[in-house]
C-alpha cells in the first residue's frame, strides 16, 4: 500500500512559457557521452542524458550460454537492460521485471538490423545496459549508448542508431521528455533512427494525438536525432583524437626543450 500518493504538478509549463526544468519546447537535455569506460569489456560506453546515467558493455562474438539459444545460421544478439535498485525514487526490486524484459527485447530488435549477424553463426553478442540513475527516457538513452558501445567494440555495423522521445504535454509538442513530463503528459513516442538509409528502427507510442500532430512528431524527432547523432560521432572519435592531440602536444614540448638547450 502506498502511503504517499504520486502527485504531479497541474501545469507542466512555467509562466514564462518554458518547461519545468527551464527548457524550450524543442530543446534537448544536456548530453554527455564517452566510450571505452569499462576495461574488461570488448566495447563500452557511458552516457549522461539529463539526470540519466547509463553504462553499456558489449561482449562478443562468443559462445552462447545456454547453448540452445545458439542459431546455426546467424549470431544471436542478447540485450540485458537492468536498473540499479537505487536508480529510482522507490527502491527498485533487483529481479528483472516485465518492463525490463520488454525494453531488453525492443533494444535488441532495434539494433539487430544494423549488425552483420550472418557472419557469426553459432555465437552471441551480449550487450549489458546498467541504468545507474533514471529520470525519463532511459530506453532512448540506452539504445543510443548501446549502439555506441557496439561501435567501440569494433563489431561491423551498417550505421549507428540514435533514439529520442517526442511527446505532448499540456497540448504542446515537446522533444525529449523528462520523468515528470513522461508520467503526467498526454502522449509519448520513443523513436530510434538507424542512419543506414535513414530508417526508423523503433517506434513505440502511448497516448492520444491526431494524425497531423503525429507527422509533426516525426519531423521533430528527426531533427532532434540528428543533433544527438553528431554528439554520438564526436564521442566515438574523441577517444582516438584525444590521444593524437596529447601526442602532438608532447612532441611540441620536446621540440621546445631541444631548442632551449
Amino acid at each position: 500500500m502506498l502511503l504517499i500518493k504520486d502527485e504531479y504538478p497541474k501545469l507542466l509549463f512555467r509562466e514564462d512559457g518554458k518547461r519545468l526544468d527551464g527548457r524550450d519546447k524543442l530543446e534537448l537535455r544536456p548530453i554527455k557521452m564517452e566510450v571505452g569506460v569499462i576495461k574488461n569489456a570488448d566495447g563500452s560506453a557511458y552516457i549522461e542524458w539529463g539526470n540519466n546515467k547509463i553504462f553499456a558493455a558489449v561482449y562478443g562474438p562468443r559462445e552462447v550460454h545456454p547453448h540452445h539459444l545458439a542459431k546455426p545460421d546467424r549470431g544471436a544478439l542478447r540485450v540485458f537492460y537492468r536498473m540499479a535498485t537505487f536508480s529510482v525514487f522507490d527502491r527498485k526490486r533487483p529481479a528483472p521485471g516485465r518492463r525490463e524484459k520488454e525494453i531488453s527485447m525492443i533494444i535488441g530488435d532495434c539494433l539487430e538490423p544494423v549488425l552483420f549477424l550472418e557472419l557469426y553463426p553459432g555465437t552471441s553478442f551480449e550487450i549489458f545496459i546498467e541504468v545507474v540513475d533514471a529520470d525519463g527516457g532511459t530506453r532512448c538513452a540506452s539504445t543510443t549508448v548501446a549502439a555506441l558501445a557496439l561501435a567501440d567494440a569494433g563489431i561491423p555495423m551498417r550505421s549507428l542508431v540514435t533514439a529520442v522521445a517526442v511527446g505532448k504535454i499540456d497540448d504542446e509538442i515537446v522533444v525529449d521528455l523528462s520523468g515528470i513530463e513522461d508520467k503526467a503528459g498526454q502522449a509519448d513516442m520513443p523513436l530510434a533512427v538507424s542512419w543506414f538509409n535513414n530508417q526508423i528502427s523503433l517506434l513505440q507510442f502511448d497516448g492520444n494525438v491526431s494524425i497531423e500532430e503525429f507527422e509533426k512528431f516525426l519531423e521533430h524527432a528527426k531533427d532532434a536525432a540528428q543533433k544527438i547523432y553528431e554528439i554520438q560521432l564526436a564521442a566515438l572519435k574523441n577517444k582516438y583524437i584525444s590521444i593524437q592531440n596529447n601526442v602532438e602536444k608532447d612532441v611540441e614540448k620536446e621540440n621546445k626543450e631541444v631548442e632551449i638547450k
Partner: protein, 292 residues
Amino acid sequence: MEEDERIKENDDKEKEEDVQNEKELGEEDSEGEAEVIDEITQDVDEFEDEETTRELVAPGEVLTTEVEKYLPGRGTILSKDRKQIISVYIGLKNIKKNYINVIPLKGLYTPQPGDKVIAVVVDKNPVKYRCDINAKDEAELKPKNTIRRMKDHESKYRHYEQEEQNVDKFDIGDVLIAKVLSADRLNKPELTTVGKYLGQKVGGVVIAIDPPKIPRVIGRNGSMIKMLKNATNCSIFVTQNGRIWLNGSGRISAERLLIDAISKIEREAHTSGLTDRIQAYLESEKIKRGIK
C-alpha cells in the same frame, strides 16, 4: 548501336582493370609471404601507406559518393541504392588504387589459413586438443598435426623412430606457436605445430593486444620490431591473433620496459611518427630505470 559499343568498351576496360588489380593483389600476397623478418612472416603494409589518410571514420559514415570512380574495399559496404560507399568500422580511411578501405582501430581476430597464432591448450581428449586462439571459436589440434610425418624414402634409408600419434605431447595450459591449417565461417579452425618456428614455447611472457594493431608493432618491413629487439635485447614473437611472446632470459626489468613500450604502441597506433617516438621513449626510460 553506338551506345552499345560504348558500353562494351567500358566493360572491357573494367575487366582489364579488374585483372590488373587481381594481379597486383596476388603479387602483394606473395611478397608478404616471402618477407621473412627474423621470426615473423607477415604482410605489414596495412598501416603505413603513403595514401593512408589520418581521417577517422565511424560506422555508417559516407566515405564517398563517387561510386563510378571508387570500389568498396575492406571494411566498407555499398549502400542499397548503390550511390554511397559506407564504412562499417571505427577506423582510418585508406585509398589504394581505386579501392576505398577502412582499417579498423579495434576488432576481433578472424583466423585465416596460414596465420601463425599463439594458442593455449585449454582441454584435451584422446582424439584432439582444444586450443584458445583469441578468436570466436576454439581451435582444434589433432595429434597427427603435432608430429613430423616421414616421407617414404626417409624411412627406408634413415631409421627414424616414428613418434606415436597420441595426445601425450602437450598438457593443458601449454603455450604453443601454431599455424592455422583451415578456417572458415562455419567450422572450427584447425591448427598444426609442425613447421619452422612452430611448437611449444617454454618460459617467457605472453601478452595480448588488439589484433588490428599488430601491424604497427611490426612496423614497415619490420622496422619497429627490430628496434624493440635491439633496444631491449629480448626475443619477441608476434602473431596475428594479437598475442606477443617475449623473453628477456631472466632480465625482468627489460621485459617490463618492453611490455610498457608495446602498450604505448597499442595506445598510439593511429598516430604518425610512431617509430621515432618509441625509440626516444625507450632510450629515456632505459636511463630512468637503469637498464643497460
